[in-house]
């Protein structure tokens, strides 16, 4: 049998091979990662619920199927964790919010069903910023499970809102996780935890059974150790779903064997670089040097639009409607972060015409960005201009004007896919990252670039000292 520390930080691809070679079993993986979640995962406030009974049943089934020669594919028998905004039978779904700690659903979200169909084993509900951070939190401590902590530094934030998905994967407490992004919630914790996170195209992955924060901005996506693992997971969860009318009609297939490994054309966006921390800037320049070994690089700028303002008005108006019950009942008073207790009230009076104007401007943004991105396999830029904030500092005070880079608002408003890749370390030993933003439907192109980058670097293989 494989040694324990070999399992903890193995990729999905490696675990799949080990399951088939007899080096481990689905049941052994469940027991191993349940222990890791309970010991290491909880240390970083990454865990809401460990679903041991359900996981043992699913693992036993996977084991029997694999033994019988019925192979559901690369995720078969591999445990994973889900951000606690995905409905699951057998555990509460808290949305990270203290007033909802006992909320239960009697069905599984589509993503959970699809992963079960692919043979993956649901082991844990992972922590998150309350209500996916949609009400304006300004401190790391904004969840019923306490502040998310990055395994790279016990005094630094994991990022949000998919906090537990980021820190559990980084700590070797789970092989992969599902996160969600409305405006930065996959790529930022991936950055601050030093893992690889993929925000798919809007509509690529069904949100049926997921908490709604903003109907026209929410996306679900994989958070893993490598770009290749992100592709494997996306392949299992993507595709049209009658229960989510916003899903794209085209099926998605991850087929890395058919992708290029060089000869890419990339735009380089220097957004936020002037205000970035020195190590973030240096690591980005170093990344460009690596990318230039297999891609041609060309400087680009974003078309001129009020991206952040469009994103803010859409998010604020839709979240006020999505959480109307919590707001009207006064239940928001029970949330953890003070800003979340009053932040929603201002949103209830946004004029409808302002919301509609944001949606009208959004169409122009989509057209302009597609024109830019059509020329490239992807546009490379910073994920964040700074490393993770200290746990005891207000987020605005630490991040200042670079809390949200324009490309984050632009990408989310236009529904563009993006992948965040670790590319080094900055102050306090914390990970830095770059992201590659793709055209709508361009996941395979940015995954191919990301794989080529990770084939030449080892940042994604670095492990925090977590024991």
């Amino acid at each position: 049998m494989a040694a324990d520390d070999t399992l903890s930080f193995a990729t999905v691809r490696d675990l799949a091979r080990m399951l088939r070679s007899g080096e481990t079993t689905p049941t052994a993986l469940v027991e191993h990662f349940a222990e890791r979640l309970d010991s290491v995962g909880r240390r970083y406030n990454a865990v809401v619920t460990i679903m041991l009974d359900r996981a043992r049943r699913e693992a036993a089934q996977a084991e029997a199927e694999l033994k019988a020669g019925y192979d559901r594919g690369p995720l078969h028998g591999i445990p994973y964790g889900a951000k606690d905004l995905l409905a699951t039978v057998g555990a509460p779904t808290t949305w990270g919010a203290a007033p909802l700690r006992d909320q239960v659903f009697n069905t599984d979200a589509t993503v959970i069903r699809r992963l079960r169909d692919a043979g993956a084993v649901l082991l844990a509900k992972l922590s998150m910023v309350e209500l996916a951070g949609g009400l304006g939190y300004n401190q790391p401590n904004a969840s019923l499970t306490g502040p998310g902590i990055t395994p790279w530094n016990p005094e630094a934030w994991s990022g949000g809102s998919s906090s537990g998905s980021g820190s559990a994967v980084a700590a070797g407490a789970i092989p992969f996780a599902i996160g969600s992004e409305t405006w930065g919630s996959i790529v930022t914790p991936s950055n601050f935890c030093g893992i690889t996170g993929l925000r798919p195209t809007y509509g690529r992955v069904s949100r049926a059974g997921a908490m709604a924060l903003s109907w026209t901005l929410d996306k679900l996506g994989p958070m893993c150790r490598t770009a290749d693992d992100c592709g494997l997971v996306l392949d299992a969860i993507a595709g049209p779903d009658p229960d989510d009318p916003t899903t794209l009609p085209e099926p998605y297939r991850y087929a890395p064997e058919h992708d290029r490994t060089e000869g890419f054309r990339l735009g380089v966006l220097r957004d936020g670089l002037d205000d970035a921390q020195p190590e973030v800037r240096a690591n980005f320049e170093q990344s460009l040097a690596v990318l230039s070994e297999f891609a041609t690089l060309e400087e680009v700028t974003l078309p001129d639009f009020p991206y952040a303002e469009v994103a803010r008005i859409i998010l604020n108006a839709e979240s006020a409607a999505a959480f109307e019950d919590l707001i009207e009942s006064g239940a928001v008073a029970g949330l953890t972060a003070p800003e979340d207790r009053w932040g929603a009230y201002a949103r209830t009076v946004i004029p409808a015409v302002d919301y509609l104007r944001a949606l009208r401007v959004r169409r122009h943004i989509g057209v302009a960005l597609d024109r830019l991105l059509a020329r490239y396999d992807g546009v490379v830029c910073l994920t964040n201009a700074v490393v993770a904030a200290p746990l005891d500092m207000p987020l605005d005070a630490y991040f200042g004007k670079v809390r949200r880079l324009p490309v984050g608002a632009a990408g989310n408003v236009a529904g563009l896919p993006a992948i965040s890749l670790p590319n080094g370390f900055g102050e306090r030993g914390l990970p830095t990252a770059m992201q590659i933003v793709g055209r709508v439907g361009g996941e395979n192109a940015i995954l191919a670039v990301a794989r080529a980058y990770q084939a030449r670097t080892d940042w994604h293989t670095r492990r925090p000292e977590v024991g």
Binding site: G136, T216, P245, T246, F305, P306, A308, E309, V310, R312, I313, N316, G330, A333, E339, R341, W342, G343, Y345, A346, R347, T348, V349, I350, P351, D354, L356, R357, A358, L359, R360, V361, R362, R363, H364, G366
Partner: protein
């Protein structure tokens, strides 16, 4: 319009919206929280003003899809 006039206008609009918030939820907000809500309203008014600077015509539809529903049968 001079910037100071713009700021005054934004502040006046935010105050109007604050009256609506107060009418709905005033009993739930402390004086300090009311101040924070007012700040947030001013930021939202400014964001809406930024959107108004993007030229739009009557033909520019909101980017939201409405599908008329027809059940089975």
């Amino acid at each position: 319009m001079p910037e100071s006039n713009g700021s005054e206008r934004h502040a006046a609009m935010a105050r109007g919206l604050m009256d609506a918030v107060r009418a709905r939820y005033g009993d739930r907000l402390s004086a300090e929280e009311e101040e924070r809500v007012a700040d947030e309203l001013r930021r939202m008014v400014e964001a809406a003003e930024a959107l108004r600077r993007v030229p739009l015509t009557n033909a520019d539809e909101p980017d939201v899809l409405f599908r008329p529903y027809r059940g089975e049968g």
